[in-house]
Subunit: 132 residues, 2 copies
DNA sequence: TATTGTTATACTCTATAACTATA
DNA sequence: TATAGTTATAGAGTATAACAATA
């Protein structure tokens, strides 16, 4: 099967499987980790800003944050300036777990791309295809 | 976002969007077309063999074939040798539509990979990551 | 007993619309 | 009026289990 859709779909599925397995001991999956990484970088974000940054629907981010909050990784705080907004921040446990899980993710990605002569170029090409 | 999962997910989403739009006039989506391509290549296949070839679950292929059969692209015939097996074949209309849609798909993929210096290498790298 | 295909069910991810509370 | 977040709902896509027909 030479089809681009088939190839991308199954490459993504394989990566997702490996990430899920490797991150499970930390109570996270790849999606959770992406949410944490959006929160940890830079100034505090509202839920809507997190959703935009991850390019997911704002109705999806609520459930994701519910799970992360139950497990003690994030907290939601009503913004004093605009009480409609929920500012999302990492807890101390969230920071610690994130740091560990990020190392795992980088290691998984490194191994995953190991068959390629130039993994960095492959990643750059994906970015190029997204127009970014 | 440098994350491999994010990049693959959104590159796939963009390709899927473009394929869906381009194939819609022919009554097909990218998934349908993949099913047709599995059927058209080589000797007649049973539903189970189609599922294996596409690496989808055998319970998923039934619905896909229902849709393709309703639209007159494929026919299911009880195999005389083994009456448990449904042999799936393209109708004449299926052959014609497939040939046209395949040209569209190739053109879409060519345009999609146009930003890359070497689209063929990119595709080969995806295959390499699948171990094939 | 094992296999092919079907049906029922469920789970995840995604998307839309309607609702609330705030602005 | 518009925005942030929530809730309900529905649609894909996928997976498991149980079943009927057949081997």
């Amino acid at each position: 099967m030479d089809r681009l859709g088939y190839l991308l779909k199954h490459v993504l599925a394989r990566l997702t499987d490996e990430q899920t397995k490797a991150l499970a001991p930390y109570g996270l999956n790849g999606r959770d980790l992406a949410v944490l990484s959006a929160i940890v970088a830079g100034e505090p974000l509202s839920q809507l800003e997190v959703a935009h940054r991850l390019r997911v629907d704002r109705t999806s981010i609520g459930d994701l944050l519910d799970g992360l909050e139950e497990r003690g990784f994030v907290e939601r705080r009503r913004s004093p300036e605009d009480r409609r907004r929920n500012v999302v921040v990492l807890t101390e446990q969230g920071e610690t777990t994130f740091a560990t899980a990020e190392r795992i993710r980088l290691e998984i990605e490194r191994e995953f791309l190991a068959p390629l002569a130039d993994g960095a170029r492959f990643r750059d090409e994906l970015k190029l295809l997204l127009g970014e």
